[in-house]
């Protein structure tokens, strides 16, 4: 520092040097950026609690562990929705393999199945998550990629079209299961591919792997009005999901593993939907696969081997 210019020295001491200024503004800028980048966390309302965080892998849970987990889920749901549900862990039954058949000659595209499913399985209403999409196709076409799913005529069916509801096809050879890096989704012995919502990390690989666009992701906290919550719940089924996890059709585990038909079938006004145990020769699905002739397994060439059969009657 030149001795004949004391004034410069004075400036830096009294106010702030350029360096301090830069430091200060960098700090403020950095903190601001940090705050901004963390701000999405504010939308994580039901952030994982310790119990859930420390929970073991589904297949390693002892019955005691599971009882505790179910209790925890029941009180979480009660806290979030104000109603106490009944959550069960229903296991696959012996000698049962589920198959779905859908009669394309009957389906009229009324979409009642879509909404019955949402209602049964506690899907988010807004934004909307729906497991079933009903595709409208011109007669004679099978080009699923060009189908219309936003049709809204005054009444259905429309002349010259048929309708094809698509949901999880419960493949024998499911690509979604293969790509999951944490084994949060797997196929059970009754043929249902399930998801453990507490184990899912939300990477969405399975969504990309599914050729049927059957998997849905919870981009936000699911919104379910209290009075529409279905309190009959299953761990691998319709218990409310969190933000950031995958979900999809699971053949209504909470119903079907208790012997009942899925909700989409029970609401179908034309009887186009058929469900049952393929290992039972007297079930309607066995009858249909035996008696009817033309079956379509969607994108069968991909080797997924769906347990969902579309057919034309006559």
């Amino acid at each position: 520092m030149a001795p004949n210019s004391p004034s410069l020295d004075k400036t830096s001491d009294a106010a702030m040097s350029r360096r301090n200024f830069l430091r200060g503004s960098a700090a403020v800028g950095g903190l601001t950026a940090l705050a901004a980048s963390l701000s999405p966390l504010r939308e994580l309302h039901d952030f994982t609690n310790t119990d859930q965080f420390l929970q073991k892998y589904y297949k390693e849970l002892t019955p005691d562990d599971m009882a505790k987990v179910l209790k925890r889920i029941e009180s979480e749901v009660e806290k979030n929705y104000g109603v106490r549900p009944h959550v069960r862990d229903l296991k696959p039954m012996d000698g049962v393999e589920f198959v779905y058949c859908l009669n394309l000659t009957r389906c009229i595209g009324c979409r009642k199945c879509v909404h019955a499913c949402v209602n049964e399985n506690n899907q988010s209403r807004s934004p909307e998550i729906q497991y079933i999409r009903v595709l409208k196709l011109p007669h004679g076409s099978m080009d699923v990629e060009k189908a219309d799913q936003n049709y809204a005529p005054a009444s259905v069916p429309e002349k010259g079209f048929f309708y094809m509801p698509v949901q999880c096809q419960q493949c024998k050879n499911p690509p979604c299961v293969k790509v999951c890096p944490v084994h949060a989704t797997w196929q059970e012995k009754d043929g249902i591919t399930v998801i453990d919502y507490d184990w899912c990390i939300g990477c969405r690989y399975c969504e990309a792997a599914c050729p049927y666009f059957a998997r849905r992701f919870n981009f936000t906290k699911p919104e379910i009005p209290k009075d529409r919550l279905n309190t009959n719940m299953a761990y691998l089924g319709n218990r409310p999901r969190k933000q950031g996890v995958m979900e999809k059709c699971h053949f209504c585990i909470q119903r079907t593993r208790a012997g009942r038909y899925p909700a989409c079938l029970e609401v179908c006004p034309v009887g186009a939907r058929k469900f049952g145990n393929i290992l039972d020769p007297n079930s309607e699905v066995s009858y249909i696969l035996r008696e009817k002739r033309v079956f379509i397994q969607l994108k069968e060439e991909m080797g997924t081997s769906p347990r969902f059969f579309y057919y034309f009657d006559k």
């Binding site: 004034s7 410069l8 004075k10 400036t11 009294a14 106010a15 200024f21 200060g24 503004s25 403020v28 800028g29 705050a35 901004a36 701000s39 009229i108 595209g109 009324c110 009642k112 879509v114 909404h115 019955a116 209403r125 807004s126 934004p127 909307e128 189908a147 799913q149 049709y151 809204a152 005529p153 009444s155 259905v156 069916p157 969504e207 666009f213 998997r215 849905r216 992701f217 981009f219 529409r228 079907t256 012997g259 009942r260 038909y261 029970e266 609401v267 179908c268 006004p269 009887g271 058929k274 049952g276 145990n277 039972d280 007297n282 079930s283 309607e284 009858y287 249909i288 008696e291 009817k292």
Partner: protein, 225 residues
């Protein structure tokens, strides 16, 4: 060249301070905006209305005689009290117009006949029993009661009836396990088909999917997964 001398040192310091305060305030404003997330969010989602509960209804669109009996619906059952109007042992005459089309008396104006293309099966006594109006009859003479009509329909629609028995036509409700008869029920033909005009009427569809972001240009499959 004109040379302007540097401003006085303390004047310069004041200006620096002012700048600093200005920048700090600017950053604070940014920070506030960020945490309030005023522009980070894409325009707020439109609230999607809840679906009308009528679309969640699982009961079939038609009631049958058996349902009326179960519900003790007196008004509806009046229609089935044939001998409240008709004379016993006297079959009502069937009248036709000039074109050979069956004429429906005004007492039965709720009935619109249209069974099959070209009205192939419009003759009342193809199904009703002219000897005893309170029952139905199959061509081979078997009597069928109003509360269990599938065998009547089955007498002319054999293959469909067979499918129905197996659960492939119509709908079975309750349990998919058919080991125990008490666990499931079959809808009757008349729950879905009006016996007099069996073609299933068209209906209003439930609302379609609402796109995640309300952009009509979005490709359909992109919008819902």
């Amino acid at each position: 060249m004109n040379y302007s001398p540097p401003s006085a040192p303390n004047e310069k310091a004041a200006r620096t301070n002012l700048m600093l305060v200005g920048i700090a305030v600017g950053f604070l404003v940014f920070a506030a905006l960020f945490t309030k997330n005023l522009w980070g969010r894409v325009e707020p989602r439109k609230e999607i209305p809840l679906v009308d509960k009528k679309f969640l209804e699982t009961t079939p669109w038609r009631k049958t005689y058996a349902d009326f009996v179960k519900a003790k619906d007196k008004d509806a059952l009046e229609d089935y009290d044939c001998y409240g109007c008709h004379e016993k042992n006297k079959a009502p005459p069937i009248r036709y117009d000039k074109a050979g089309k069956i004429l429906i008396p005004k007492e039965h104006s709720d009935i619109v006949m249209g069974h099959g293309s070209h009205d192939r099966n419009n003759l009342c006594f193809n199904c009703h029993n002219e000897q005893n109006l309170t029952t139905l009859q199959v061509r081979d003479g078997r009597e069928v009661k109003f509360d269990n009509i599938p065998p009547l329909c089955g007498s002319c629609h054999g293959p469909t009836y067979r499918d129905w028995e197996a659960g492939a036509h119509g709908r079975i409700s309750g349990s998919w396990n058919h080991a125990n008869e008490a666990d499931f029920t079959r809808l009757s033909c008349a729950n879905c088909h009006n016996p007099h005009a069996p073609k299933i009427p068209t209906r209003e569809p439930a609302p379609g999917p609402h796109l995640l972001r309300a952009n009509p240009e979005t490709h359909a499959t992109e919008a819902t997964h």
